[in-house]
Amino acid sequence: MTDDLEPLRRSRPDRLLPDDPPDPEILVREKARLMSAITGPHGAVEHRRSPSIYPRLAYRDEVAALEFLTRAFGLVERRESRMEHPAGMLAWLEIGDGMVMIGRAGEERHGLHSPLETGAPTAMVNVYVHDIDTHYRRAESEGAQIVMPLEDMFWGDRRYEALDLEGHRWHFAERASEIRAGPPTQ
């Protein structure tokens, strides 16, 4: 006997039209509105728009990846935007004014794969940070695989490259002008 609720269950709009979840920007915006209603304009959270371009990285275990990227590389999740779903979590992570999106790997997930499956990364994420030396020590001690050591480059940046826990390649650097100017003042 078939379950008589099955047609209704399968009529759920997002099952009929499986697509990406709602725009995470909506959540960021609504959270900012809620917080300013709660705490008044002074406590308002800054509402930052997503950058015009940001990559989506695929992982076999996106939950472990989220934990690793925040712990080892210092990325900060837009927590209000996280989408949990039995078929995988989506999260948006910020560092400085940049952002990456992470999700589960798979043919039905936009055909994106983890380097664990492809055997090699096919892109590198470039990130500028403040205090690259501290960033490097943290990444190394938290288990990132360093593939290019921290060094001064002839064009002035100080940089290193590391693989995350599934082999995506990250390039972290600090601009020479910022190193000379010392730590940010804010």
Partner: protein, 198 residues
Amino acid sequence: MEESDGAVIAGSLETPGAFGIIFDRHGSTLLRFLARRVNPADAEDLLGEVFRIAFERRSTFERDRDSARPWLYGIAANVVAKHHQSEARRLRAMARVSAGRPLDDDPAERAVAAADAGALWARVMAAFRTLPEAERQVLLLFAWEELSYDEIALALGVPVGTVRSRLSRGRARLAALTRGRDTTTDVPLTPCDAGGER
């Protein structure tokens, strides 16, 4: 160990800003619920409404509860009920989409003649629109949101027994309507507007 929602909400009585954690934990779930139920363009506004109401009523939330999710679903269900025109538009649009949808490779559907199947989807959505509000809410919290009977009871503020009876009534009525006859009155249904709005 993360603080329970009950503890966070209790803390937000002293420190209102802490209520933001409740948004972080459940905002995306509620947004998706609303986007299934009303016109997507309205979902964002309703999301704001749900959390503003929740914040104002937070002193009534029982602090020994782990999860605020059923409570938020209840508030959201009420907010949706107030916007039934938007809900009706959503259901009509989904009926249109489902009518043209090819069949999945599903054993339950292979039993249905292929020509009938597209119409079946449309009939489900059309039939669903004619159910009483109370039964619709319970059916959808159960079938779409996958809440348990206890969670639905909490959400809607009714006894579990009421949830069970509404669910079985709604189920029977939906099955009858989908087959094209309403057995509660035993009068054949008019073809109604299964094709959606023109």
